[in-house]
């Protein structure tokens, strides 16, 4: 069996985000098991473990599951990621933090066992600025951008990048911190109202998202100038606001909706057959799609590892090696029924994140659908990469890690 522990959170304050993802991930793996008899003839065994987004429970899950030849961990929370980075590295199990966690883990020279695909927060910040710039006709000179962020390590991630970008493009950056949990954001949104920024970016999480979007609607901030990070852009975030949320935008790194062949297969083979992990209602939601995306890419990596090692029952180290040279082309996405769902991936020893592209999606409140508006955009590598280098080297020196050469 291919054992993949899934540190999910279907309970606790972030359950609304955790459930669709967990369903998507499991359902895709179930599809592979049902349809193909697993991967390379080996059944996939997804071991769910409930963390409630709590680090200590995450540790318990990790320790409990790591013994059974667990192939890889997807920690699903920034806290647990930081927790597991040193532990899993020592235990020789790869970690994949999916567009969260430590951004500088992109540097594979320092973080041998950590993967950060497909994109990072710093990339996201840069893409958001780029998009705003395009909207403003190529220049942000003299404009004002407000960042409404969760006052935690996660929320503070984009600040450095945005500061650098504001220097470069000459816009003013206004920082508005929201303390956990973020049920009350009057002060922040009154400031938005008074300062009249041209754009508002949001790094929100949990209840903070819904309240922010609601407050934005209340103060009549133009929704199409309000852009959230990918964790602030799912159905759960906008539905409670109703019509007010129409036009709200967010970043994304995969397609929206269910117009991809594999979704039909999931529906028929898994959900309708009563084998779904959840109640099946999350099918096609943004979070669900993220789960599918993760599972699909992981399945590709496992396949690659099986090919490279020549055995079907691979080890965590095999998977790590395969991840480090993972190539998922657009054609391959097409083959697995996800054509156009996400841009091609190509990882390397030095770069543990790829393709580092993000698009903008928009919410349509009437149809209750998200739709992707733009192409996948590149971040400003000139700004982001030096930051990654700096931070990863700081980690290396702090922890006495000698970076690999990656030749």
């Amino acid at each position: 069996d291919l054992t993949i522990p899934a540190l999910n959170y279907r309970t606790g304050p972030y359950a609304p985000s955790g459930i669709p993802y967990a369903d998507g991930f499991s359902d895709y793996m179930t599809l592979l098991n049902e349809r193909d008899g697993g991967i390379g003839g080996e059944m996939v065994n997804v071991v769910e473990c409930e963390t409630a987004y709590n680090t200590e429970k995450g540790v318990e899950c990790y320790e409990q599951t790591k013994g059974d030849n667990a192939l890889l961990y997807i920690p699903q929370s920034t806290g647990i990621t930081y927790q597991l980075i040193p532990k899993a590295s020592a235990d020789g199990i790869p970690i994949w933090s999916l567009a969260y966690g430590r951004t500088s883990a992109v540097n594979g020279k320092v973080f041998e066992w950590v993967f950060n695909l497909p994109v990072t927060y710093w990339d996201g910040a840069s893409v958001a600025v780029k998009y705003a710039m395009e909207q403003e006709g190529g220049s942000l000179e003299g404009k004002k951008i407000a960042l409404v962020y969760h006052n935690s390590a996660y929320g503070k991630e984009p600040i450095r990048t945005l500061e650098k970008l504001s220097e470069k493009h000459g816009f003013e950056l206004v920082l508005l911190a929201v303390d956990h949990p973020g049920q009350e954001q009057k002060s922040q949104w009154l400031q938005v109202r008074q300062q009249r920024p041209d754009y508002v970016f949001m790094w929100g999480w949990g209840v903070m998202n819904q309240v922010a979007i609601q407050e934005a609607a209340n103060v009549r901030f133009p929704m199409d100038k309000f852009i959230g990070i990918w964790w602030s852009g799912s159905e759960a975030d906008v539905l409670p606001v109703g019509d007010g949320a129409n036009g709200y935008k967010s970043l994304t790194f995969h397609g929206a909706g269910t117009d991809f062949p594999v979704f039909g297969e999931i529906k028929s083979t898994v959900i309708d057959a009563g084998k779904a992990a959840g109640d099946g209602t999350k099918w096609g939601e943004v979070g669900y799609n993220k789960g599918v995306y993760t599972a699909a890419v992981l399945a590709e990596a496992i396949r690659a590892a099986q090919e490279a090692s020549g055995k079907s029952n691979i080890s965590p180290a095999d998977l790590r090696d395969a991840l480090e040279s993972l190539e998922v082309t657009e054609a391959r996405f097409e083959e697995i029924g996800l054509g156009g769902f996400a841009p091609a991936i190509s990882l390397s020893c030095a770069s543990h994140s790829s393709p580092r592209l993000a698009a903008i999606q928009q919410w349509n409140a009437a149809d209750k659908t998200w739709s992707v508006l733009t192409d996948y955009m590149e971040p400003d590598f000139e700004i982001v990469d030096p930051l990654i280098e700096e931070d990863s080297m700081a980690y290396a020196s702090e922890n006495g890690i000698e970076p690999r050469s990656c030749e």
Binding site: C49, E50, E56, Q64, G79, P86, T103, H180
Partner: protein, 358 residues
């Protein structure tokens, strides 16, 4: 008579104020210590250490600390999370500023730093009492967390705002960082835990303990018979915070290795530790252990039974777990309002009388 006290007479006052005046209890206690120090380290694995024993030992230290404040001195505090954060951040700053000093001392020093902070936030207790004080201590909780989150100096300006425990060793044995052995971290925490329990026991059985308990039971009468309330409360805050700080330092450096203050030391921590002492038994060192065991072990146990045993969906199990935990808390309180420690005592009393009903 399964349990006997008869025949154990103390002939001196020293003997009488021993921790375990009854010989049977004393031997049992030595046996437990022997198992903990000599046996467990040989059989422990990562799961038992990281998922069960470390959190148990560390929470037990925190619970002992809080029990001194709440259980012995009657000053209800909800600032435990914040004080644990002080311990953790003090330990981190010390570890990174003085890498050559033994981590053992860092942990102790972190305790002292926390004691200082505890005294400052304890000052309002001179005027504010009961639940008002409890809520007032939340000011410490929120302020401290905000402060550690806000000022880069505390986390050495790391980009992520997290603090990571660098690798440190005691007598050449690594106890922090990723390359530790289960037995080493376990023993390291065990030493602190046993030390904490002994010190707490000594403090509470003598003058200091009586001073605190007098304040707890009736502060006005205590003052009239000669207890200086300022001194009593401040020492309680200091000693309590010391233990809580040590727990915080271990929690960060040995157990988790990387923490972010809002997540690891949020208000939830304060409540959890308070639950431990109320369930375990206020004003009882044994109760602190019992409570820590209850709150740390029960969820793990339930999870393993419901998910591992019955194969239920993780979320259904998690919800049931909460319900069972809540239900058990209420049941225990109804059976014995003064916690597991008192429950244990009643059982002993019954055993002593057994087979006669009274």
């Amino acid at each position: 008579m399964i349990y006997r006290e008869a025949g154990d007479f103390s002939t001196t006052y020293q003997q009488d104020s021993q921790t375990f005046p009854i010989r049977f209890d004393r031997y049992r206690y030595y046996a437990i210590l022997a198992v903990a120090f000599l046996l467990v380290p040989f059989f422990i694995n990562d799961y038992w250490a990281n998922a069960i024993l470390l959190p148990f030992l560390i929470y037990a230290i925190a619970a002992i600390g809080l029990n001194i404040l709440v259980g012995y001195c009657g000053q209800v505090s909800l600032g435990t999370g914040g004080f644990m954060a002080v311990g953790a951040y003090a330990c981190y700053k010390l570890m990174t500023s003085f890498p050559d000093v033994n981590i053992f001392f860092h942990v102790i020093l972190a305790g002292f730093v926390t004691a200082g902070v505890g005294v400052i936030f304890g000052l309002p207790s001179l005027r504010i009492k009961g639940f008002y004080l409890a809520v007032a201590t939340l000011a410490a909780q929120f302020f401290l967390v905000w402060m550690f989150n806000k000022f880069g100096w505390f986390y050495n300006y790391s980009a992520s705002g997290q603090i990571n425990a660098p690798e440190r060793s005691v007598f050449g044995i690594v106890v922090t960082g990723p390359n530790t052995h289960a037995w080493a971290t376990y023993l390291f925490c065990l030493v602190f835990c046993v030390g904490a329990a002994l010190i707490a026991r000594n403090l509470t059985r003598g003058t200091m303990g009586r001073t605190w308990m007098a304040i707890r039971d009736m502060d006005i009468a205590a003052e009239i018979i000669g207890v200086n309330p300022l001194k009593a409360k401040m020492t309680a805050f200091a000693v309590s915070s010391f233990f809580v700080g040590v727990a915080g330092a271990l929690f960060f450096s040995v157990y988790l290795g990387a923490v972010e203050v809002t997540e690891a030391f949020g208000i939830q921590k304060s409540f959890i530790v308070l639950f431990m002492i109320i369930i375990g038994g206020m004003g009882s060192i044994f109760g602190s252990f019992a409570g820590a065991a209850f709150i740390v072990l029960l969820p793990v146990f339930l999870k393993n039974v419901l998910v591992g045993g019955f194969g239920w969906a993780t979320d259904v199990a998690a919800h049931l777990e909460l319900m069972i935990l809540g239900g058990l808390i209420i049941t225990f309180l109804i059976l014995e309002p003064h916690g597991l420690a008192a429950f244990w005592k009643t059982i002993k009393e019954k055993l002593r009388l057994w087979p006669f009903p009274h």
